[in-house]
Symmetry: D2
Subunit: 347 residues, 4 copies
Amino acid sequence: MTFAESPVVTFEVDHEGDPHDLVYTLGGAEARASLVPGSILDTSTLDCFAGKVTSVHDHVSEVCDPRCLNPQTGPFYIEGAEPGDTLAVHFAKIEPRNTFGFSTSVPLFGSLTATGFTAMLHQPLPEMTWRYDLDLEARTVRYEARESEAFYTLPLDPMHGTVGVAPALNEARSSLTPGDWGGNMDTPEMRVGTTCFLGVNVEGALFSFGDGHARQGEGETCGVAVETAMDSVLVIDLIKGGPRTAWPRLENDRDIMTTGSTRPLEDAFRISQVEMVHWVSELTGLSMMDAYQFVTQAVESPIANVVDTNYTVVAKMKKAYIPGCNPMGGIHERLKQLGAAYLASLT
Amino acid sequence: MTFAESPVVTFEVDHEGDPHDLVYTLGGAEARASLVPGSILDTSTLDCFAGKVTSVHDHVSEVCDPRCLNPQTGPFYIEGAEPGDTLAVHFAKIEPRNTFGFSTSVPLFGSLTATGFTAMLHQPLPEMTWRYDLDLEARTVRYEARESEAFYTLPLDPMHGTVGVAPALNEARSSLTPGDWGGNMDTPEMRVGTTCFLGVNVEGALFSFGDGHARQGEGETCGVAVETAMDSVLVIDLIKGGPRTAWPRLENDRDIMTTGSTRPLEDAFRISQVEMVHWVSELTGLSMMDAYQFVTQAVESPIANVVDTNYTVVAKMKKAYIPGCNPMGGIHERLKQLGAAYLASLT
Amino acid sequence: MTFAESPVVTFEVDHEGDPHDLVYTLGGAEARASLVPGSILDTSTLDCFAGKVTSVHDHVSEVCDPRCLNPQTGPFYIEGAEPGDTLAVHFAKIEPRNTFGFSTSVPLFGSLTATGFTAMLHQPLPEMTWRYDLDLEARTVRYEARESEAFYTLPLDPMHGTVGVAPALNEARSSLTPGDWGGNMDTPEMRVGTTCFLGVNVEGALFSFGDGHARQGEGETCGVAVETAMDSVLVIDLIKGGPRTAWPRLENDRDIMTTGSTRPLEDAFRISQVEMVHWVSELTGLSMMDAYQFVTQAVESPIANVVDTNYTVVAKMKKAYIPGCNPMGGIHERLKQLGAAYLASLT
Amino acid sequence: MTFAESPVVTFEVDHEGDPHDLVYTLGGAEARASLVPGSILDTSTLDCFAGKVTSVHDHVSEVCDPRCLNPQTGPFYIEGAEPGDTLAVHFAKIEPRNTFGFSTSVPLFGSLTATGFTAMLHQPLPEMTWRYDLDLEARTVRYEARESEAFYTLPLDPMHGTVGVAPALNEARSSLTPGDWGGNMDTPEMRVGTTCFLGVNVEGALFSFGDGHARQGEGETCGVAVETAMDSVLVIDLIKGGPRTAWPRLENDRDIMTTGSTRPLEDAFRISQVEMVHWVSELTGLSMMDAYQFVTQAVESPIANVVDTNYTVVAKMKKAYIPGCNPMGGIHERLKQLGAAYLASLT
């Protein structure tokens, strides 16, 4: 397979410019470029601090403007996309631009602290910053403790925390929030080899993404992953019409996945599971009750985030459990091959 | 290693008797037998229906007495156990007694339906029963649809849903409920090769277990796994004194794990993560904030159940990420070898 | 009306004895006395500290045994009570035994702090104790600040936080927990003039009560009301058979009320509202959907507690809105008159 | 007092026009008019159906465009308003324009049904519409059952469900959602005689309001109140600088009130209570812990809504409990008198 008929769009991002010139909402921003379906998008993303955290002595509350957190690359206007269509976005490459990443605690943010929503009378936990060295050869990240001399090594596992389209109802939502439009889902499943399906709410879809993580645990416990700027290649396609994709779906070579993003966490779980029951029913012809039963025994349910303004849960089903299924018309396999062909052409 | 000094306790369970003679609470029941620490317990458990579901035409609401759901094997009085100690229970064998299992829907029970607590005005979903054939050679379970002709095959993965001790404060809790005493956590991690650590609340601990599942998905979505009677071998030991085990911990060869069981689901997540932060801090010497940061990037967070009277979330950390750590004094490795030696002696 | 045919049971409580001799669970304790339906019960209750907090210098964590919090008066075996019956308990008198009350903060307890369930990494809030002077003539309580010289006066409004029967499923539940058996609901509606209806789960019902508050706000924000020992007179009756009272109901001269106790708080709300929809439907003959609509416009929904192991919400409906209704067969009016006649006889 | 120096702004709303010309977001819409602080705003609002429900045979899902629910009057640009300021809005008049109102059930919306967020496998509850006759002389609304011949009478109690400003972070939020910007809080406290305080997030504040209810219960159980178009008079003022109003506050002659709007419901409660603790501390000089204690005994905590995309809880404190307090510099009293003088001038 070649990507000969796939337009390649190279979109330059200014990593040194004024953060106020960047985009921080899904919806509410003008398109920065247009793509035709089937395009390969070769671009990059800033880290969630807009590059303002540069050492362990930088505190988010001091060096970042609260209006300039989690800048997005985009939005991109997808030619021909209309409400009810489904956008397919395959991640062919997500590679750290630098050999370091930062994580931080942020006052009144995170899952094990009082927050502005889980409001309490406690003083905030200490504000601290950690630097990680990324070994792009060995594919590791190195954790370094701040209050002792300890080091630990974890696998590099690059991903994008924020992937989405403009929301419905003329809403513009902060890039810090996930929902049925995607957004800041913060699931480690959004790694290379994954295709993300997003229901289109507005003409042109207005796709954007960002928030690269060199890795994160499930739940993103303290609220901040190993944050890094990324060089990323995406293959973007459009499924016209068909059943509406109510909540973001993911697919990789092993699994189909559904997501739910809301509060409380059990409702995020419920959404992801109802979506999986319906998807399995569609793929297999099982009745709703039969699919409910089958999913009960087969599903994996990793938590994505319990820190953002909505919490996210993922439901996963191995494709091997439903032999012969052809999710979303096989688009994942096709986009994966296009991406591979493009990347091969570069070397 | 041999188990020469380990007493072997064979505890017979009457699988054909009157369900009303069985035990359905943790706490509030007299000990059925005594064990010394270090014992090997060779016994069995009924399924959660007390064996009353025998075909797909049996509905739980018709064939089961609601007071006779989820019978427990035990309680066992552990000699020398006192409040503040920690009980260690290693699962050396969990093997289905039969070549079939059943799952059901239950009116107003499950995660994707109105319940007695998430009270609504809907009519209950249909009540149905599914039979699974277990292939103990191929290590598979076979799902058979009820409303079409479909079959699917899933891996056999036997486990115990309910494992616990008597609660604190003189409480007696239904075996349908999980909490800090263990109980009905319904995590698939409670499989062969796992050691479960439980804080002791009363003299003798009063350990019991049951609720065998041939397998289950994460979340136990419809509320009922592939329910089966089990033949099980446990190695039971006692850690005297030491830091109190506030919530059940698990360990296997790959991971250390913590659990939280409460509602809403984010609080179950919070408990499991706070416990993991503290455990990692103890094992590594990292400060609390340093451990919070490290756990954020390293933890896996699978949901266990979103159906029981409390919901359960697990936090997992690969032991390989913290080289040289020696969780709970190495008791997992020791009990594993004792169990293996005992099982080898039988063949 | 007289109470001539009503047996008067005077039950002495030892306010100076060993707290370990008292009862701290609903279920799991032997009956301390028997009553026939229709009895007048003249007795008293200790405060939730079992009398151990006697000055602002006493901290709960230092002076109280955690196993000895919230002692109950009872349990009382109600002759003839069987599962499925409904117990009716009218509060004719709830009067502070002393002219003072205490409130406290308790580490990791309360709604605006991390707790053992809403687990976080914060240090506990400061532990403090406040003394209130009760003016039983003026019917006021006097708040006195601890960290400044301020005083404020609030109305005296005595009530019982804990009222319940033994739970179902052979459970024994701490008197700190509310649920469908009643227990620690902590609603200020449980004042003089109120009749509480409780579904019976075990033979004899095993009714108990305690946790007198000179007053409390809605939600019991910090977790502790103005705690006082009480002299109380109750009129107790039994409704044989009939529709099961699934969750505690209350009635006074103005309102009918339903309660829900669970987590999260929206589920406690849902329970109370579903119960109200069904009760209004029974009282009026409205269909379920018509009652749902009517309740939507007419109900009041005060929060009771957001601090206990389950949260409690109350739904209230003015009886004047449904003219001619006769809740629970008019038992409230009858018990109210019996209580008044008994109290009149004492003076 | 006169309103001689108060500009009177009469803002005409087209009640017969195309619903697509109206505004359905807070933020994201151009100002329709400008006001100077101190203005009297005499205007009207459409009902939440944009007038499209006109008989009990009209179903929302059939007659309403989902993009055209809950139209707002405004937004109004308030001259001189800057982020950090506080807008004060006093409701001097809220009077139904018609002698009827409608309520409905809406599929998968409401607190006692599965929804898009509390996702389940149930079929929706029946869709129905109820008409209420409003007697503006007797000040009553008349409920009429749909499935029997019953009628009930409830007090007329007009209010606005939606009152707010543009959100922070460049967000545009649906008028169906409440949050720290106000919006669809759906509290019956937003009646005549109430002043609402809103923190300003953007230049000009961009105030709007709507969603008139002839009355509603607390919680808005089925999701829809007695919906009516309103003629309303507001007095609008601006508090420059000062401590930021983080969440909407209300004041009437009896109470000060705080609000919290989020999920789960306990977090909405927590926000409202933390805000009340801080407000009482400011008004009295009590320390935080002393205020926490005082609020615990004094607060009322009515639920506002458990149906919208965020849930809302109100905390209320009688001003009589803190004698001599002067909330928000006494602006409530001043705006109340301005409103009364204006209304008197019309008759």
